[in-house]
């Protein structure tokens, strides 16, 4: 299929470009046509038709892919560029005023306009897959065939008693489907009615051929969807003409808004269908077309989208196209002014319902700054972790001979209040009579520290570890029971990491521990694992020490230099003018 079919005037057109899906053309509420790039997910261009408010755009169809013109035929040399890219270029827009505009996305300008054929609004436009011919169907019940080489109307015929709401040209370019009251199939060579189908009770919004035409013409199928109709019907064009009714139907949750279809080339190949409904859901179908089936099919997968707020709201889908492999779908969702385009790689077909949550900007800015910088900035927030040398995780954890994960028990302390009170009392008593109870205080500190370590109480630990007096630290450590030594070392390590300003205090504690309890620590079997972090920290510090000393020296030099130059400025200039001038004028 060259392009997507037209869509009814009730909804805003939103169409992906064919083949490579490079662009998404959206005509938003403000009447502007915006082309979005699906690769970079940014707006590519914006076009305001000259009569965008009176003659709003009702339907969009991408033209067949433009291939870059080959030069004169000559012998191909090595490393000559090949024109592999197939760019979607032209875009046909039907307007409510009855004209058809052709817009060139490569040039960013209007290519030409086709008018003076329809007396009422255009409902649908469809390109011929091969020739440069365009078909448009209108409210004035006519179908017009445009010759694009000359930009003139080639022929025009009355298609139905009611407005023509949808059109579709068969993949081989020989048949045309039109939908008015009934669905009619026209032979494009003779412009004669070929077949008639009963159609839907409401306006048909979608017509797509589901198969390329096989040699026996019994295998030609097409699908149709209509407004207010929660069904997609499949019709078979049969040789014998007994094809008034639909053969298969697919159920939807709401009326279809955007239909994408991968036609099957043979009986062994399934037709894949992606339907975006009015309620914003996407339904995927996969079906082998062979003859009628009474029971309607339900979707093989339904995709919904929601935002990331606390009470998630659904995000409506705008359009979806199927990728070349069966697992990927290209989605456009959000609103028409700023659609978000995403390639969903693995739509899980084993699950019937998929809900994706996406963070969509809710604030809308009507004036959009087009990005001319071509730079994307990835998100860097405070949640990201920074590992510098010395922090755990920067070096591999040291592992001892036997690997044991010491399970850390964290008791939820219930006696928090009481300890805090106790601490307060001690503080009071300490301030009231320091000198007398100095020894008692250190004793209390040791007890407190043990309590704090056991209960993991941050308050107590902070109080104790903030001590600045060297003697107090020494005595406290000396009185510490052996079982509390290891937890203390760990705690000190943590403190050391978390608050960089208290580092020097922690070093004092560590020093005291090592002075008093080295023999005990050395006797521990899993010393390496327990103290690995500490070891790495010390190591990295030692490595940095050299550099830091250098830096310190340089800074010192600079600072003293500045200081001396400042002070030399302070010294007032020596006054060279003479304090007293004696003029001896009376020599003679």
């Amino acid at each position: 299929m060259a392009s997507d079919g037209g869509s009814s005037s009730l909804q805003l057109p939103c169409v992906f470009s064919p083949k490579s899906r490079q662009y998404l053309a959206v005509c938003a509420q403000d009447g502007r046509l915006r082309i979005w790039n699906t690769d970079s997910k940014t707006i590519n261009q914006e076009y305001v038709p000259s009569a965008h408010l009176s003659a709003t755009c009702t339907c969009i169809a991408w033209g067949p892919c433009r291939t870059v013109k080959e030069g004169p035929q000559r012998k191909k040399r090595k490393s000559e560029a090949v024109q592999v890219e197939e760019k979607a270029d032209l875009l046909a827009m039907g307007t409510a005023a009855g004209s058809v505009l052709l817009y060139s996305t490569a040039k960013g300008t209007l290519h030409c306009s086709l008018d003076e054929a329809h007396s009422a609004g255009v409902n649908c436009v469809h390109w011929h897959p091969e020739d440069s011919v365009l078909y448009s169907g209108s409210d004035d019940t006519n179908i017009v065939e445009w010759d694009l080489q000359s930009g003139k109307m080639r022929s025009k015929w009355k298609a139905d008693r009611a407005a023509v709401t949808s059109l579709c040209v068969s993949p081989d370019g020989k048949l045309l489907l039109s939908a008015g009251h009934v669905i009619k199939m026209w032979d494009l060579d003779t412009k004669e009615l070929y077949r008639k189908f009963t159609g839907h009770s409401t306006a048909v919004t979608t017509l797509r051929f589901a198969t390329t035409r096989p040699p026996d013409s019994n295998g030609l199928y097409f699908v149709s969807g209509a407004a207010h109709d929660r069904l997609i019907s499949v019709w078979q064009v049969r040789e014998d003409g007994k094809d008034k009714n639909s053969v298969v139907s697919f159920t939807l949750t709401d009326e279809p808004r955007h239909v994408d279809l991968v036609p099957s080339n043979s009986k062994e190949e399934a037709v894949r269908l992606a339907v975006v409904c009015q309620d914003g859901q996407l339904h995927l179908f996969e079906h082998f077309l062979n003859g009628p089936c009474k029971k309607p099919f339900s979707p093989s997968c339904s995709v919904q989208m929601a935002d990331t707020r606390e009470s998630p709201m659904p995000i409506p889908m705008l359009a979806a196209v199927l990728g070349r492999d069966s697992r990927s779908v290209l989605l456009a969702y959000g609103n028409h002014l700023q659609p978000v385009i995403e390639q969903v790689v693995s739509v899980n077909t084993t699950e019937r319902h998929v809900c994706l949550s996406r963070d969509v900007k809710t604030s809308l800015s009507l004036t959009m700054e087009s990005t001319v910088s071509k730079v994307k900035t990835p998100v860097v927030n405070t949640k990201s972790k920074v590992l510098v040398p010395g922090l755990p995780g920067h070096q591999a954890p040291l592992k001892g001979s036997h690997l044991e994960k010491a399970s850390e028990k964290r008791k939820k302390d219930t006696k928090e209040m009481s300890i805090a009170e106790q601490l307060g009392e001690i503080d009071l008593s300490a301030t009231s009579s320091e000198k007398v109870k100095a020894s008692l205080q250190t004793d209390n500190y040791a007890v407190l520290l043990v309590q704090g370590l056991e209960s993991n109480d941050a308050d107590i630990l902070n109080k104790v570890l903030q001590t600045r007096k060297e003697m107090v630290i020494k005595k406290t450590v000396a009185r510490l029971p052996l079982s509390a030594v290891l937890p203390l070392v760990k705690e000190v390590g943590h403190q050391r990491r978390l608050c960089f300003d208290t580092g020097i205090l922690m070093v004092r504690w560590l020093k005291a521990v090592l002075m008093h309890h080295t023999s005990y620590l050395a006797s521990l079997p899993d010393l390496v694992t327990e103290l690995g972090v500490l070891y790495h920290m010390i190591e990295s510090r030692v490595k940095m020490f050299h550099k830091l000393t250098k830096l310190h020296g340089k800074l010192y030099l600079l600072m003293t230099h500045v200081a001396t130059s400042d002070s030399s400025n302070m010294v007032s200039e020596v006054d060279h003018t003479a304090k007293l001038v004696y003029e001896d004028g009376e020599w003679d």
Partner: protein, 793 residues
């Protein structure tokens, strides 16, 4: 040896677009730039490449609009030809063969076919003379004689000053030069960042000059706007400076344009400027000094330091681009998608300043993790390294920084790789470094951090530190199922198991350090291949831990196709690179291509195809699953294409012909028909051999037409004189008849006054002029319009 008749090497984009100054079309809608062997025509509105003008067989060295026809342009090339193009339709009109390589194209005015040879040779000699001294002299909007005179004068002038400056030891060598369009003034840019405006230059003895100084280093390009009111200058600072002519203290700046500005050009109508940058970019700037579009090619820094990678989500090619950025390049569309700012620090354009650069990057198999290494080297011992791990956030549809590891190693990181996990989450990354270690990083939940920090989500931390006899690891590779990790420590390949980090075995083939390691895939997964610096390609069988085979070739790059068993080896042999594609288990190569390109190929990548090919031809079978892209030393992106594929492409390429008539605005409805009428004969005469000759009196007519209506005498007064002048004597008619016979196809286009065509039939009549009309036109040309001149005076 398998022949490669069906598989061709083709150029696949990525060529330079900043090589020469681009040309903007008169109406500012198109931009023409020389890009390798073709001229690319871009739309200035949409940044799209409309078409490439192909035909030259060597590097194109200049593009210039044809002054007499705003729809045509000249291009010159090292192949010794000048070609005339219709760039709106992409048609080659004519080729002038010169016979010498042309390095620079000057403004050509009034090209006559018999004379053009001489003229161009002359131009070539000129440029050869000048290129000895400085880069590109430029003169604009002058007649030819005046221009040559000026160029020569400038040349003497340069020589003169160059000597003088050298004696002084100053740094004010000329870097660029431009002429004022209307006044007698030349602006020159200098190495020391000064701009000098030389006035009264025609009188050599009395010239004066004034100096403008803003740039801190060399001025690389200078241009006057077409009216001469502004002077634009640019340099390495990537700031476009707009100086007001005669009020030089007033300047406008447009900073942060990207790479250093190499060329500036201005459209003839003055509506747009464009600047070429050293990072293969053209910025289009509106005359109000606002960037309106950026045409960006594949960014080429001084070198590519990362590997070529394919982003699994968008299938875009990823490599390092701008300093501190990773670029995402669409291979299907030959277009840069975006640059991802990794370093997130302002880049300061100054020579000699070391700044952070992205040197390594890796994607995991599903594209949900990106690891980047950035490096700043001031001195060897003070290397600054950052390893950043970015997670792709589905909700935000963007990469989010997860973990920054500063100084992950003490030495430079030599390799970075993720294991190939087919489904599920990647939780491991291995980095090897010059410091003699390799580290395994693991994604872990924040378990061991106590109650102080609340970290949401998992982060990366070091899991294992490996080393082998204090040798330096150079490369690492995971096996296809990620159960084995091979790390090459100089001569020794060590094989580890990532599950428990045990050293399983060591393999070695001395002498020569292992440069590249690669595990086989699928049925060949028992093989491990390694390329050594001693020109050996070794294949080890991991089941027996023994050497399976070894062959002698200087492999510069070894690559495995992720979707098949094939491996590609780029071998450097006698100044050029050969490619061998082989299966590790089979003795014969599947495909070989001798002398792929000159120089080493060090960057290549297999890109999975969207649709598998079903070719059963032996030589092209290896291309069924993937494309192979590689970068040459000249930074051209090349690939292979099979015959079948090419046939398919040419068969399906069909030109869609759609007429282009925009009749939109009310103004156009009023005026467009007249314009059509004026333009159509011109369009027909486009292919004519003769250039447009201005009749002697056309100036008078033009003057009359441009005159405001209120200053003209009444129409009735004019009419009788005009009709009088239309009456031609008998001899004149005969003469014109005769001329028609001998010069068929020559047609005059410029004067066809609208009064002569009835306005009703103008639309359809214009393309097909009847014989009488042609004759009438010709007669009109012959007319003596001097009566008007008298009238106007």
């Amino acid at each position: 040896m398998v022949e490669h008749g069906d598989v061709r090497v083709v150029h696949k984009g990525g060529s330079k677009i900043n090589f020469r100054e681009p040309a903007l079309s008169t109406d500012s809608r198109f931009l023409l730039c020389a890009s390798g062997e073709s001229v690319k025509v871009f739309s200035t509105a949409t940044e799209e490449c409309l078409h490439a003008l192909q035909g030259h067989t060597d590097l194109i060295t200049g593009v210039l609009l044809r002054p007499s026809n705003h729809l045509q342009a000249y291009s010159c090339s090292l192949d010794g030809t000048v070609r005339l193009w219709d760039f709106t339709d992409g048609i080659l009109i004519r080729t002038y063969s010169i016979g010498y390589p042309i390095y620079e194209l000057f403004q050509l005015v009034a090209v006559h076919l018999p004379q053009c040879g001489e003229q161009l040779v002359e131009a070539k000699e000129l440029s050869a003379v000048l290129s000895n001294i400085s880069s590109n002299p430029a003169a604009s909007a002058f007649g030819r004689e005046v221009r040559i005179f000026r160029c020569l004068e400038v040349y003497f002038f340069k020589n003169f000053f160059l000597k003088k400056d050298n004696q002084k030891g100053g740094k004010n060598t000329f870097t660029c030069i431009t002429c004022h369009p209307t006044e007698d003034c030349i602006a020159s840019g200098h190495e020391d960042g000064k701009i000098r405006l030389w006035r009264n230059f025609n009188h050599r003895k009395e010239y004066t000059y004034s100096t403008l100084h803003w740039h801190h280093s060399a001025v690389s390009s200078l241009r006057f706007t077409p009216e001469g009111t502004n002077l634009l200058s640019g340099g390495v600072e990537s700031v476009l400076v707009q100086w007001r002519y005669n009020q030089e203290s007033q300047r406008d700046f447009l900073p942060r344009l990207g790479g250093a500005i190499t060329h500036i050009s201005v459209s003839p109508d003055g509506a747009l400027f464009c600047t070429s940058h050293s990072d293969n970019k053209i910025t289009i700037i509106q005359s109000c000094v606002k960037v309106s579009a950026v045409i960006q090619g594949l960014v080429k820094g001084d070198r590519i330091r990362t590997d070529l990678m394919i982003e699994p989500r968008s299938k875009a090619l990823v490599l390092n681009g701008k300093p501190g950025h990773l670029q995402f390049y669409s291979l299907q569309r030959d277009k840069l998608l975006y640059n991802l700012d990794i370093v997130q620090q302002e880049y300061i354009h100054e020579s000699g300043l070391e700044q952070f650069e992205v040197v390594m990057a890796a994607f995991d198999a599903s594209g949900s993790w990106l690891a980047t290494v950035e490096e700043r080297k001031q001195k060897a011992p003070e290397l600054e390294l950052n390893l950043k791990l970015w997670a792709f956030d589905d909700q935000k549809q963007s990469f989010v920084l997860n973990t920054t590891i500063s100084a992950p190693h003490e030495g430079r990181i030599t390799a970075l790789c993720f294991p190939h996990v087919s489904d599920g989450q990647t939780t491991m990354l291995v980095s090897t470094s010059r410091d003699g270690h390799f580290k395994a990083w693991q994604l872990a939940a924040p378990g061991f951090i106590k109650f102080y920090l609340i970290l949401k989500g998992p982060s990366w931390s070091c899991d294992f530190l490996g080393a082998y006899h204090s040798l330096v690891p150079e490369c690492c590779c995971f096996s296809a199922d990620s159960s084995l990790l091979a790390v090459g420590f100089q001569e020794v390949v060590t094989v580890w198991t990532p599950a428990s980090w045990e050293l399983l075995t060591t393999l070695s083939q001395p002498p020569g350090a292992v440069r590249d390691l690669c595990f086989g895939r699928l049925s060949c997964s028992k093989y491990l291949l390694g390329a050594t610096t001693s020109r050996l390609l070794c294949c080890w069988n991991l089941l027996t831990c023994s050497l399976e085979w070894v062959t002698s070739m200087d492999v510069s790059l070894l690559l495995a196709d992720p979707l098949s068993e094939n491996m590609a080896a780029f071998c450097f042999e006698a100044g050029s690179t050969d490619l061998f594609v082989f299966k590790p288990g089979e003795p014969r190569p599947l495909f070989s291509h001798k002398a792929l390109c000159s120089g080493r190929v060090t960057h290549a990548v297999f890109v999975p195809r969207e649709v598998m090919l079903e070719s059963c031809d032996e030589a092209s079978q290896w291309l069924n699953c993937s494309h192979l892209y590689f970068l040459t030393q000249s930074m051209d992106l090349l690939t292979f294409i099979t015959k079948a594929e090419e046939d398919k492409l040419t068969a399906s390429s069909k030109q869609l012909v759609v007429s282009d008539d925009v009749a939109m605005t009310p103004f156009h409805l009023l005026l467009g028909k007249h314009r059509d009428q004026l333009e159509n004969p011109q369009a027909e005469s486009r292919l004519s051999v003769e250039p447009i000759r201005q009749p002697s009196s056309s100036a008078g007519i033009n003057e009359l037409l441009q005159m405001p209506a209120h200053v003209l005498p009444s129409a009735s007064f004019l009419c009788s004189m005009f009709v009088q002048s239309l009456l031609i004597s008998k001899e004149e008619e005969m003469e014109s008849e005769k001329e028609e016979e001998d010069s068929d196809g020559e047609m005059e286009s410029r004067i066809s006054r609208p009064e002569h065509m009835p306005s009703g039939e103008s639309g359809c009549a214009a393309p097909a002029l009847t014989k009488e009309e042609v004759r009438e036109l010709r007669r009109l040309k012959k007319l003596d319009h001097s009566w008007m001149k008298g009238l106007l005076d």
